[in-house]
């Protein structure tokens, strides 16, 4: 009896987590530019994976240690990788969407280093990268 209740609770938590992963994927498709895609993709897939692994904990309480390590790992590395992606996308000049209202990083870079706009042009290469 108790086992059945635990399985139902864990299953519902796992379904909620997978729905969050699905919403993150839909956000990746629907959003208009790269930075908004990174926003929705990172947040939704982080919570979705954590909830899915937490749902598995209700099925197998003996797996707690490894599931905890996995959750901690996802929670630490996911923001880092999204930050790396966003910074790389900004520095290679991915266009922002037309709805953007303000870009203070660009104003700052032009003031501090006027020739940086030229440097980016030089780096593009000829081997079809």
């Amino acid at each position: 009896m108790n086992q059945e209740i635990m399985e139902i609770v864990g299953g519902i938590i796992a379904i909620i987590g997978s729905i969050f992963i699905l919403l993150g994927a839909i956000g990746i498709v629907r959003m208009p530019d790269t930075f908004n895609r990174i926003q929705t993709g990172t947040k939704a897939s982080t919570l979705g994976t954590i909830l899915s692994l937490a749902g598995l904990f209700f099925f197998f309480p003996g797996w707690g240690g490894k599931l905890f390590i996995l959750v901690l790992f996802v929670l630490i590395t996911n923001p880092v990788s999204s930050h790396v992606l966003a910074r790389a996308a900004y520095h290679i000049g991915v266009p922002l969407t037309k709805k953007t209202v303000v870009d203070q990083l660009k104003e700052r870079e032009i003031i501090s280093n006027p020739s940086s706009a030229n440097l980016k042009k030089v780096k593009t290469n000829e081997i079809g990268d």
């Binding site: 629907r30 930050h83 969407t97």
Partner: protein, 164 residues
């Protein structure tokens, strides 16, 4: 100061080893003790990341409080994402704003930047000393003071007590 870094590294390695092995048999604990005693000597030559780590009761209480605040913000962020993705008109108003933080230590700034990425509608783009450039999905104020109040104050209150 050096001994404290070593102790934190040792405890972290030992806990991760025990959780990964999922048992407390005698051989496993002995191997873990040996490895966690030797490894910090090899890889922690001048790690200054933990220098600001406080081990007072007040810092401990604030760490626990910070954990709950972080979970609340994470759930709020996901609810925000769900609303924006599902609604047919895509209500976004994005922009890149500049905020300033009062934190001094390196690890405090790292945790702050990672937390900002997981909170509602914000993403850390670039960090130069104490200035953070943040991509905000729904810009509400474009000057430094207003943006700082809206984005970083929630966490700074706790991180200041924890790491200074």
């Amino acid at each position: 100061m050096k001994f404290k870094n070593y102790l934190i590294m040792f405890i972290t390695l030992m806990v991760v080893w025990l959780l990964l092995n999922n048992s407390v048999a005698k051989e496993i604990v002995l191997v873990g003790l040996g490895l966690s005693l030797v490894l910090p000597f090899l890889f922690c030559g001048k790690c200054d990341l933990f220098n600001h780590f406080k081990v007072t009761p007040k810092a401990l209480i604030y760490t626990i409080l910070y954990f709950f605040v972080f979970i609340r913000e994470l759930v709020k962020a996901n609810w925000d994402v769900v609303k924006r993705v599902i609604s047919p008109k895509l209500p976004i108003n994005p922009g890149i704003v500049e905020v300033k933080t009062v934190l001094k230590s390196k690890i405090g700034r790292i945790i702050l930047a990672n937390s900002i990425t997981l909170t509602p509608g914000t993403l850390t783009l670039e960090m130069v000393d104490d200035t953070l450039f943040i991509h905000w999905i729904d810009v509400q104020s474009t000057d430094i003071e207003g943006a700082s109040n809206a984005i970083v104050r929630t966490f700074e209150k706790y991180l200041e007590e924890m790491y200074g």
